[in-house]
């Protein structure tokens, strides 16, 4: 075990895979010599060589396009998109190509690539450095979409993603890169140092895709979250003294329906949290699933706590972010109701 920030854990996952498998390589804008604007690939070029960790033109569609061709030809590319807000030029390559290749060729070809990209707000990035577009990818059959909330999971899940035979979108909550975040932007930032989930095994291990992590056990209410919002949920549960079941989904597709169903059947109350815009966010799918599977156990309406149906504003960042107050209000509604 060593202490790692989420950045270090992500870098270590790539390092481990590149060391074990010569077919693993990584590339993206500023990924090579410089090591990425968030430093996730720092040192990998020096260690593994120019051809295994390199800069690309500013062309997200091109980056995913070459990754598909490489993956189809036996490599295991890990492509970085500098911010998730810039993934849209690659949307066609991801949705029409990477996710479809196995199906349309009936297994003749496949595209086992991994796409890493930072998501979420909290760094005053405004409309184009803050988005959480996960829902746009969960609608795409053939693609896996995952999002860790801590260094331990980040490393284990990224190794699983690289080793997966399917294309995987690996979302990195940038507000968690350097430490957990309880949603209160005015309190001093905390680091992963000393945090139990900052304890990361050296070498190779995996966190399987499709398994949620039960953050804590409780009987009063189920809180379903992923990424940054896991920490906000925990903080609110603490502050309110809730006896909550908190589920960190980790993987959105495939989804751990068993964990969700078991929890809500137990508690009868459910709050779903995400940072993305509310309408057609992934919370909608979660709400629909819970309602379909646990209808007769529900004692109150399922609540969604989300960003607003606006772009992510710059100055009003913390008014947009679904912080502790918004979570608390939803929990109260879920608890109050008959």
């Amino acid at each position: 075990m060593t202490q790692m920030s989420m950045i270090e854990a992500i870098r270590d996952a790539m390092d481990v895979c590149m060391t074990r498998d010569p077919n693993v390589l990584t590339f993206g804008e500023d990924v090579g010599y410089f090591g990425g604007v968030f430093r996730c690939t720092a040192g990998l070029q020096e260690k593994h060589g120019l051809h295994r960790c390199f800069d690309t033109p500013i062309s997200e569609g091109g980056i995913i396009g070459i990754a598909i061709g490489m993956a189809a030809n036996g490599l295991r590319p890990v492509a970085e998109i500098q911010f998730a807000d810039y993934i849209y030029p690659a949307y066609d390559q991801i949705a029409s190509e990477a996710a479809r290749l196995r199906y349309r060729s009936n297994g003749d070809f496949s595209a086992p690539l991994t796409i890493r990209t930072p998501v979420g707000g909290g760094i005053f990035g405004g409309t184009t450095h803050s988005q959480s577009p996960e829902a746009l990818f969960t609608h795409i059959a053939g693609l896996k979409t995952i999002i860790p909330s801590n260094p331990y999971d980040a490393k284990g899940m990224l190794i699983s993603a690289i080793e997966s035979d399917d294309p995987v979108l690996f979302l990195e909550p940038k507000r968690l890169y350097n430490g957990p975040f309880d949603g209160d932007h005015e309190s001093p930032s905390v680091s992963w140092k000393g945090h139990p989930l900052g304890e990361v095994p050296e070498g190779h291990y995996t966190v399987p895709l499709g398994q949620a992590r039960q953050i804590r056990e409780g009987r009063q209410i189920t809180m379903i979250a992923y990424g940054t919002m896991v920490w906000v949920a925990e903080a609110v549960a603490d502050a309110m003294g809730l006896d909550a079941d908190i589920i960190d989904l980790r993987s959105l597709v495939p989804l751990d329906l068993g964990a969700i169903e078991a929890s809500v059947k137990k508690t009868g109350r459910c709050v779903i949290l995400h940072e993305a815009t509310r309408t057609s966010g992934f919370g909608a799918e979660l709400s629909a699933q819970v309602q379909e599977r646990c209808f007769y156990h529900l004692e109150a309406p399922i609540q969604r706590v989300t960003g607003w149906d606006t772009p992510y504003p710059h100055a009003q960042e913390w008014a947009y972010f679904p912080g502790p107050k918004r979570v608390r209000a939803a929990v109260e509604l879920a608890l109050k109701a008959a």
Binding site: G65, I66, G74, L75
Partner: protein, 428 residues
């Protein structure tokens, strides 16, 4: 303004409304009702540009992007520096593949008209591009084709039965009905799964080629686009990434003059050739008479050698003509003169190779008729076998449950659930 002579005359605005707009919209020289006359397009008889060393500086090919590599004159004579060193056997093989491709196209088109399949696309007029190209590559070189390079599969000895089964979506379809007709996938023949989305595979081919170099292997990738689809971003990505990483690949633009109903000027704009798009990226650029199988072979062999030796990518424009409708859903007489194909000045690719073979004393009309008859017979018999395996709406058919397979490497829980729901639906 002394703008250069354009390759196509422009027509006055046909609309009834006076157009006071200064916005320019290009129009094809001829529309239905017009008498097409292509005398403004020069058919260079002996003017193929010089054949430089395949490892030359890309500058040396800049003029090639604007000229036209040709080998065969219309009288069958082979001329110039680009004559490929291939024997009569290979030429006859190419002719056979082209004839076979056309025979299969004709049959499948007719069968679509009879409702045996949902859709079909012919490659008539463009057989030299696919067949000439395929024979100049190694069979292990991965091609990333569009829907109009079925000739590559024929040239690589793919099973015509399997091809037909795919088109019929029947019980023998290697793709188990998942894809529409002609979107083949034949990894075993170095033929990448064709996407219904135009352009996307251009940059994937560059990635494939980069992987070859990464692995220090000497395979190359060869990718195709119609001239219309060069307007997609993927074309730019492909040229740019191929240039940056010197990817061992060939980027083929098949300029068959039409993109469904849009003439090539819509994609081309004020440019002069599609090959010339590559010049600004520092790629080698060749423009070739796509109805001349030997010229296609020669240009491909040049580009393949360059790529394999580490010289990077070449853009090849294959200048040809789409002699039929875009697909079975199309009626070209709606937007171009009925006899446009006939007056197209570059002739028919099958005819041209045939005339050449006769000219060099390696072929005659009788053998050609025998070949055509044989091709038709093979196609007819193969089609019979295929139909026995089912058609899109007559059994034996693909099991519906296969639709749940190959979405992922292994099925997620949700799909297993949905498969169960579907089972119940069927038993209602």
């Amino acid at each position: 303004m002394a703008k250069k002579q354009s390759n196509h005359a422009t027509k006055p605005n046909r609309s009834k409304m006076p157009n006071r707009s200064r916005m320019h919209v290009p129009e094809p020289p001829f529309r239905p009702g017009d008498t097409p006359d292509y005398s403004h397009i020069s058919v260079p008889a002996m003017h193929s540009p010089h054949r430089p060393d395949p490892m030359c500086d890309d500058h040396e090919t800049a003029e090639h992007a604007l000229k036209l590599i040709r080998v065969m004159r219309f009288n069958g004579e082979a001329v110039g520096e680009w004559i490929p060193a291939i024997d009569a056997d290979l030429k006859r093989r190419m002719l056979t593949d082209m004839v076979m491709t056309r025979a299969m196209d004709d049959r499948m088109f007719a069968m679509q008209r009879q409702g045996k399949m949902s859709f079909y696309m012919k490659s008539r007029g463009e057989e030299a591009v696919s067949v000439g190209h395929a024979h100049a590559l190694r069979n292990s070189d991965m091609v990333f084709p569009t829907y109009r390079q079925q000739g590559i599969l024929i040239a690589r000895d793919a099973s015509m039965l399997e091809m037909m089964n795919q088109c019929l979506s029947n019980s023998g379809d290697p793709l188990q009905g998942k894809s529409i007709p002609v979107l083949y996938s034949f990894k075993k023949h170095g033929f990448f799964s064709i996407s219904g989305n135009l352009g996307t595979q251009l940059i994937q081919a560059v990635g494939w080629a980069m992987a070859e170099a990464y692995k220090n292997e000497d395979g190359i990738a060869s990718t195709f686009t119609g001239e219309g689809a060069t307007a997609e971003g993927d074309f730019h990505y492909a040229l740019n990434f191929a240039s940056t990483y010197r990817a061992p690949c060939i980027i083929n633009v098949v300029n068959n003059q039409w993109a469904i109903s849009s003439f090539q000027g819509i994609a081309m704009g004020e440019g002069e050739s599609f090959a010339a798009r590559g010049t600004g990226y520092g790629l080698a650029t060749l423009r070739v008479d796509g109805n001349d199988a030997l010229a296609v072979y020669a240009a491909t062999a040049w580009a393949a050698e360059r790529a394999r030796k580490g010289g990077g990518a070449t853009v090849i424009e294959h200048f040809t003509y789409r002699a039929e409708g875009h697909s079975t859903s199309d009626d070209p007489s709606k937007y171009r003169p009925k006899n446009d194909a006939d007056v197209w000045p570059f002739g028919d690719p099958v005819e041209r190779l045939k005339v050449h073979l006769i000219h060099i004393g390696e072929w005659d009309e009788e053998r050609h008729e025998a070949l055509s008859a044989e091709a038709k017979k093979t196609v007819r018999e193969t089609y019979k076998q295929a139909e026995a395996l089912g058609t899109v709406d007559a059994g034996p058919q693909v099991d519906d449950f296969t639709m749940f397979e190959k979405v992922y490497a292994d099925d997620p829980e949700l799909l297993t659930e949905q498969r169960e729901l579907f089972r119940r639906e069927l038993s209602q």
